[in-house]
């Protein structure tokens, strides 16, 4: 199947002209299916100044099946699970929403956008979503604190 060709092409595009605040690398040069993404916290968000490592895994059926994205760096965010998996729930990554012609670049940009604007209604961490909606100040404090603690090189 053409999956390798497609992946190689997408990777080349992303390396050549990376989207703002996003850096893409293969986790292992011999394996096209696992990527490391380095994402800068967007300006104006409590994640600003943080550098987050994400894992992007492509299924063998890619692009007919969606990739999965997870945070390796701990992050305080309503849409990222607060465990060692750091799973992320993105609408476009659901099997029934994903289109074979959707691009990884769009996924990454969407993920970064989510850092700037969390979507508390699709939260995986209900408690954080609640706080985000009702006590924004406290949410930002904790998110900043976590960013400082886990996402900033000291």
């Amino acid at each position: 199947m053409g999956s390798q060709k497609r992946i190689a092409k997408e990777l080349a595009e992303l390396v050549e002209s990376p989207p703002e605040g996003i850096l893409v690398k293969l986790a292992d040069e011999s394996n096209l299916y696992t990527w490391h993404i380095y994402m800068d916290g967007p300006e104006g968000s409590p994640y600003y100044n943080g550098k987050f490592l994400l894992n992007l895994t492509l299924p063998t059926e890619y692009p007919f099946k969606p990739p999965t994205v997870s945070f390796k760096t701990k992050i305080y965010h309503p849409n990222v699970t607060n465990d060692d998996k750091g799973s992320m729930c993105l609408g476009m990554l659901r099997a029934d929403e994903w289109k074979p012609s959707s691009r990884i670049q769009a996924v990454l940009q969407f993920a970064r956008q989510l850092l700037a604007e969390p979507m508390p209604d699709d939260a995986v961490e209900g408690r954080i979503a609640e706080q985000y909606k009702n006590d924004r100040k406290r949410y930002e404090e904790v998110a900043k604190e976590w960013t400082r603690k886990y996402a900033v090189d000291s």
Binding site: M1, G2, S3, K5, R6, K9, E61, P63, F64, K65, A95, D96, K99, P100, S101, S102, R103, A106
Partner: protein, 634 residues
């Protein structure tokens, strides 16, 4: 008593368990007793874990205790058959006074038209074409001919898309508890779909495969769909995932210099396909995508274009161009499934491996007034309202309440009833599993006598002998206890009878499996022919059905308030029960006797069926007219 006394003496000293922060535990001096918490699931768990299998044994006991009683009734019912006969006849005449009332009620003059699709059958071939491979454009123009003028009359009558055009030809005599319905085979369903698609196609002047998408989008509500299309054609098409461009016939093409967006392959001989939205991909990717949707995700009606954020729906014609036959078949099966799921008047038969669907006009809101039992062609009886097994005469809502209650309570309730009493002051449920009669409730510290439930202090010095049965405090406590226990006992009364019929039906069913053997041996022993021994089969089926009905009469009765109607109901119930038990009894006779009993069994079978009809008719009539009063809101 003496035994209690002995055990109790040492217990007296540490007697007041004021330390009981574990509150729920009442203490019996000397030995531990425990309270089962209030009647909830928690209790069930507690009872189950703490006293391991006690609840079950108690329940079984209750059950065993009941079944001999049940069997006992049947011989008496049998032997005194003559004695009963006049009574039966009395009741019959009682209910014949009711019968004409039941049967004279105007039966809705709708026949369940068996050949629902006859008008369609002639145009079928072309329909099939439309659905699968798609028709040639000429075909399509032809159908378009039957223009918009016919719109009004076409849609005036049959709303539900049921096409029961011949509904007023014959008025079948339906019993009050029967509902109109129709069984559809997979082929019938597909024909029904195609018929509607073609009608809409000719009215709106759209290709059939597009009309199909439109209809699925509008959940097959034709009137609303046409209205919405007439008012805002473009919005409706967009929202349905159709797009407004109907020009040209999409076909696979080879386009020089094309690069597929999915696999990034290029090549001058790459075959490509695009729907009218213009998103073009290579045929391989398209096929892979469709296969994954259909096989992997079981999707059919809403497969979108593979293009990023394009919501155009892949139509059956495009699909026909691209995929293999086995996939096409699966695709159509899935479409049929969504068709049945989408339409309120259709339900799949819930029997395992049954492919039929039932068409019934009963709406959800009607379920307060009817219990719509239907029978599929596979012989399975089920309720169209909730798709559970036939539960006449009890309405769906009550059935759900009852099943939930039984699931939560019955085992527990049986056990509580058999093993516990309540604290006369705070009504905590208490189990005494040994020790003396001097009880101190761990919860409220009330001290009472387990035997008479009276205040312990009134026992004075006669600690160990409860000889004061007439004490005031004791009798009051017993009355209160009796009241609270009465509701539990009432539930158990109905539950045990309900469960008994369920169990008996199972046993009868086992018997039925042996019936065939019986029939064969009866044939050889008595010289009767195969046809002549069929009476056993008939009897067995009648037994099953009557027990099913009886079972649900008890659930129904549990929720009824008492009045004159309830008494008539109970009389009917009793008559049916008596008839069923005596038939059941006959049925168990050894093979050699069966041949001689043939006439009796035939009579009894007919009688059982008749009693069932009377009971169900009466109940259904009252339900329809809102005559029943219930002790719950539903």
């Amino acid at each position: 008593m003496g035994r209690w006394a002995l055990v109790m003496v040492p217990g007296l000293v540490p007697g007041r368990p004021g330390s009981g922060r574990g509150a729920h535990k009442p203490a019996c001096h000397g030995q531990n007793a425990f309270t089962t918490p209030p009647l909830t699931r928690k209790r069930k768990a507690a009872a189950a874990t703490l006293v391991d299998n006690k609840p079950r044994t108690a329940a079984t006991k209750a059950f065993v205790a009941l079944s001999p009683a049940a069997t006992r009734t049947s011989p008496s019912g049998h032997s005194s058959r003559k004695k009963h006969k006049p009574a039966d006849q009395n009741l019959d005449s009682d209910s014949t006074s009711a019968t004409p009332r039941n049967f004279s009620v105007p039966v809705r003059a709708k026949s369940s038209s068996p050949d629902l699709n006859t008008p369609a059958s002639t145009s079928m071939e072309s329909d099939e074409d439309f659905m699968s491979v798609g028709s040639s454009p000429d075909d399509f123009l032809d159908t378009q001919g039957s223009d918009v003028e016919s719109l009004g009359e076409d849609f005036g009558d049959d709303f539900d898309g049921g096409f029961s055009k011949d509904k007023d030809i014959i008025a079948t005599k339906r019993k009050p508890y029967e509902v109109e319905f129709n069984v559809l085979s997979p082929g019938d369903i597909e024909r029904q779909q195609n018929l509607q698609i073609n009608e809409v196609s000719s009215i709106l002047g759209l290709p059939p495969e597009s009309s199909a998408i439109l209809l699925r989008y509008g959940r097959w509500n034709r009137e609303k769909l046409i209205e919405s299309y007439m008012d805002h054609p473009e919005t409706t098409l967009e929202e349905a995932g159709l797009g407004t461009n109907f020009e040209g016939t999409p076909k696979t093409e080879v386009i020089p210099g094309f690069v597929c967006d999915i696999c990034c392959e290029d090549g001058d001989d790459l075959e490509t396909y695009a729907m009218r939205c213009g998103h073009r991909f290579c045929v391989d990717c398209y096929r892979h995508y469709l296969r994954q949707k259909i096989r992997g995700e079981g999707e059919a009606a809403r497969i979108e274009c593979p293009g990023d954020s394009c919501n155009m729906i892949v139509d059956s014609k495009s699909l026909g161009l691209l995929v293999t036959d086995d996939l096409k078949e699966r695709y159509h099966a899935l479409l049929t499934r969504t068709y049945v799921d989408d339409k309120d008047n259709l339900k799949w038969c819930p029997a395992p491996n049954c492919e039929y669907a039932v068409d019934c006009p009963i709406k959800q809101r009607d379920l307060r007034r009817v219990v719509p039992t239907v029978q599929c062609d596979c012989k399975h009886y089920f309720c169209f309202g909730c798709t559970l097994n036939d539960h006449q005469p009890a309405p769906c809502t009550l059935v759900k309440m009852w099943l939930k209650k039984c699931e939560d309570d019955s085992e527990t309730a049986n056990w509580i009833s058999a093993n516990t009493k309540e604290c006369p002051r705070c009504h905590s449920t208490i189990e005494k599993n040994g020790g003396c009669n001097h009880m101190t409730c761990r919860k409220c510290k009330h001290e009472f006598c387990w035997m008479c439930m009276g205040l312990w202090s009134e026992h004075g010095t006669s600690w160990y002998n409860c000889n004061r049965f007439e004490e005031k405090s004791g009798s009051e406590a017993r009355t209160a206890q009796a009241r609270s226990r009465a509701s539990l006992e009432r539930y158990l009364h109905y539950y045990n009878r309900y469960a008994n019929h369920e169990q008996s039906a199972k046993l009868d069913k086992d018997l039925y499996l042996k019936t065939e053997k019986k029939m064969t041996s009866l044939q050889s022993q008595s010289g009767l022919s195969w046809i002549e021994v069929q009476f056993l089969d008939t009897a067995s089926q009648a037994l099953q059905q009557c027990r099913q009905t009886l079972k649900w009469t008890y659930a129904f009765a549990y929720y009824l308030s008492r009045n004159n109607l309830t008494e008539i109901f109970e009389d009917n119930q009793k008559d049916l029960e008596m008839a069923v038990e005596s038939l059941s009894e006959m049925f168990e006779k050894p093979v050699p006797e069966l041949a001689n009993l043939k006439v009796d069994i035939l009579d009894k079978t007919a009688y059982c069926n008749k009693r069932r009809v009377i009971l169900l008719s009466d109940t259904a009539e009252n339900l329809k007219n809102g005559e029943w009063t219930f002790n719950v809101d539903w």
